[in-house]
């Protein structure tokens, strides 16, 4: 009981003491909160994006087969389909036709993709939400709608006009923002792709356990191909965001260390006034350990306040304010980007990591340098 009461007493004094340099301490907490806010924002954002990618790409093609030519992906002859279908365990093989289209008017890159449902509706397209917002028709600041006509420039410079048949579901923007679905005939006409060629092949297998054996067999039969497994797709997204998050995290860690050095400097450069106070406390009966306890509470109070506020603000930022501060990074140089609201996925592990990476170092950094001042002889106070 006495021990708890002692802690509370010392904490009382610490808080009174902090309250004296209000402006300075508030400024400190604000800067510290901002650092934690940035770190937490990066963590929340990348984690949620990874989780989202993991969930929605569960139904991506089990295996995609590309053909490589001189180190670049190239069109794949459709007769590969027949040989691959022969492999035991392969359930179905289908060609995919897709590619990019650069629209000079809007400066945007679109992904053009053939969809079988449009095959008997040549001349029509279905567009993603991002495409509709980026008017290609020359009508500025106006979203594309059903029955709008869009001109496409074909491989030989002539113009092919296609009519908007509809929009892809709004909720799927995260995967479809830049998509333009076209019929096979239009796609081949646009890019002059022969009928016996496709962009790549997707296949389903009977037993997922056989995927790697089948992949090995495919590269054996067609050494110029590269199979990509769904598992690899899912792993790619983990890596891409780890990498991106990692780089940002590194930069932010730099900021954080700068902040720690600042705190260290502040703690080592205890003002004459603070040193005097420590002397007084010792002279009136505080032990060295009591002084350090006071410093511990000081560090904890500041860093806990910053920690909770930083985490909470980061949550609001990422999940309610659509990561508004990250926009320049996310948009990068792309003209077209999806607008989406991330589903919040947060993990206790991340919160704990942030806690141990911020609160603990800061507290240690406030305690350690005050050790020297805490061991001054109490009699020095007699001469002050």
């Amino acid at each position: 009981m006495g021990a708890i009461e002692k802690q509370r007493n010392i904490l009382d004094f610490t808080l009174s003491s902090l309250g004296r340099r209000k402006g300075k301490n508030i400024a400190l907490v604000v800067v510290y909160t901002f650092v934690i806010f940035l770190l937490a924002s990066v963590l929340f954002f990348t984690h949620s994006l990874k989780k989202e990618a993991f969930l929605i790409l569960q139904d991506a093609p089990e295996m995609t087969v590309q053909r490589l030519l001189a180190g670049r992906q190239d069109l794949i002859p459709t007769h590969y389909i027949d040989t691959i279908r022969q492999i035991r365990g392969v359930q179905s093989v289908a060609p995919r036709l897709w590619g990019y289209y650069y629209d000079a008017m809007s400066g945007a890159n679109y992904t053009l993709m053939v969809n079988a449902e449009l095959n008997d509706r040549a001349g029509e397209i279905i567009i993603g939400n991002g495409v509709s917002m980026r008017s290609m028709s020359g009508k500025r600041n106006q979203a594309l709608r059903r029955n709008d006509i869009i001109p496409f420039k074909t491989y030989d410079g002539s113009v092919l006009t296609l009519k908007v048949r509809g929009l892809l579901p709004f909720a799927s923007e995260l995967v479809t923002a830049d998509l333009i679905l076209v019929s096979e005939a239009d796609f081949r006409k646009l890019f002059s792709i022969a009928n016996d060629q496709a962009t790549d092949l997707v296949l389903n297998v009977r037993n997922a356990k056989e995927l790697s054996t089948i992949a090995a067999k495919i590269t054996q039969i067609h050494p110029d191909t590269r199979p990509i497994l769904r598992e690899e797709i899912l792993r790619t997204y983990d890596a891409v965001f780890d990498w991106r998050g990692g780089v940002i995290f590194m930069v932010l860690s730099g900021v954080f260390f700068a902040f720690i050095i600042l705190a260290w400097d502040k703690a080592t450069g205890l003002s004459a006034e603070e040193k005097r106070e420590i002397g007084i406390l010792k002279a009136i009966g505080w032990e060295t350990s009591d002084i350090l306890l006071m410093k511990f509470w000081e560090g904890s109070a500041v860093s806990m306040a910053a920690f909770f506020m930083g985490i909470f603000l980061a949550y609001l930022h990422i999940f309610l304010a659509s990561s508004i501060l990250f926009e320049p990074v996310l948009k990068g140089w792309s003209v077209l980007y999806p607008s989406f609201r991330l589903t919040p996925y947060i993990s206790v592990y991340h919160i704990a990591t942030l806690f141990f990476l911020t609160v603990i170092p800061y507290t240690v950094v406030t305690i350690v340098p005050s050790w020297r001042s805490a061991t001054i002889d109490p009699d020095s106070v007699m001469r002050m």
Binding site: I4, E5, N9, S16, W286, D379, V381
Partner: protein, 228 residues
């Protein structure tokens, strides 16, 4: 109560600016009396008080407190002894600025782990005793010299020490306030406290409160007689 045996204090030992502040001091202080350490400035009064009050260790010699040798106690126990036995009123008062008078008074008792409510009650009683109840929630930097000193006295009393130490308590007070201070000392003596005051102010050493005057000069005791 306290006995010093052949105490010597050297500052900056073995250096060019070595200085012997206290030399060969033998002194015995009894309970319930009021003793004044008298001597000119620089004679070693403050140094001797710090040694008596367990704030500094002598370079050589022994200190006995209630028949207990304390010279060799480790720092922690020394702090505990200091907190429980001595209440110190500093020459410059040494209050902590920016917090209230009440908090200043309670401060020495914080490490004891006493319940906050009872501690606060005791502090308020002390402030009441010293006529400071109205100043309890004032920041100490707004107090006058006399008030600040009485806060310092209240702070010295909060742990209910047996011995009160005061270093040049009247140095910053006018005559009226100095006499007032001595009246407070009289009160404390009556309550059974042992008083140890360093001063070269006649208001202090000529006061009827004082039982004994110890004269020091150049770090040595020149007379330690009782007042008849």
């Amino acid at each position: 109560m306290i006995r010093l045996q052949n105490v010597r204090k050297v500052f900056n030992a073995d250096k060019a600016n070595e200085f012997v502040a206290i030399e060969g001091v033998n002194l015995s202080i009894d309970s319930h009396g009021a003793t004044v350490l008298k001597g000119p400035s620089g004679s070693g009064k403050t140094t001797l008080l710090s040694i008596l009050g367990c704030m500094a260790r002598p370079t050589s010699g022994r200190i006995m407190l209630k028949e207990r040798e304390i010279t060799s106690l480790p720092e922690r126990f020394l702090t505990e002894v200091r907190r429980e036995t001595f209440g110190i009123v500093f020459q410059q008062f040494n209050l902590i600025k920016g917090i209230t008078a009440l908090e200043n008074v309670m401060l020495p008792a914080y490490p004891n782990g006493e319940k906050h409510a009872s501690l606060k009650k005791r502090a308020m009683e002390l402030l009441d005793l010293l006529n400071l109840i109205g100043k309890a929630f004032s920041k100490v930097e707004w107090l006058s010299g006399g008030e600040a000193q009485r806060i310092a006295i209240a702070r010295a009393l909060i742990n209910n020490p047996a011995i009160i130490i005061a270093d040049e308590p009247t140095a910053h007070l006018d005559t009226r306030l100095s006499r007032e201070f001595m009246e407070i000392m009289r009160q404390l003596k009556k309550e059974g406290k042992t008083l140890l005051i360093a001063s070269h102010d006649p208001i202090v050493y000529d006061s009827t409160v004082i039982d004994r005057i110890v004269e020091i000069r150049d770090g040595k005791i020149v007379s330690s007689g009782d007042i008849p």
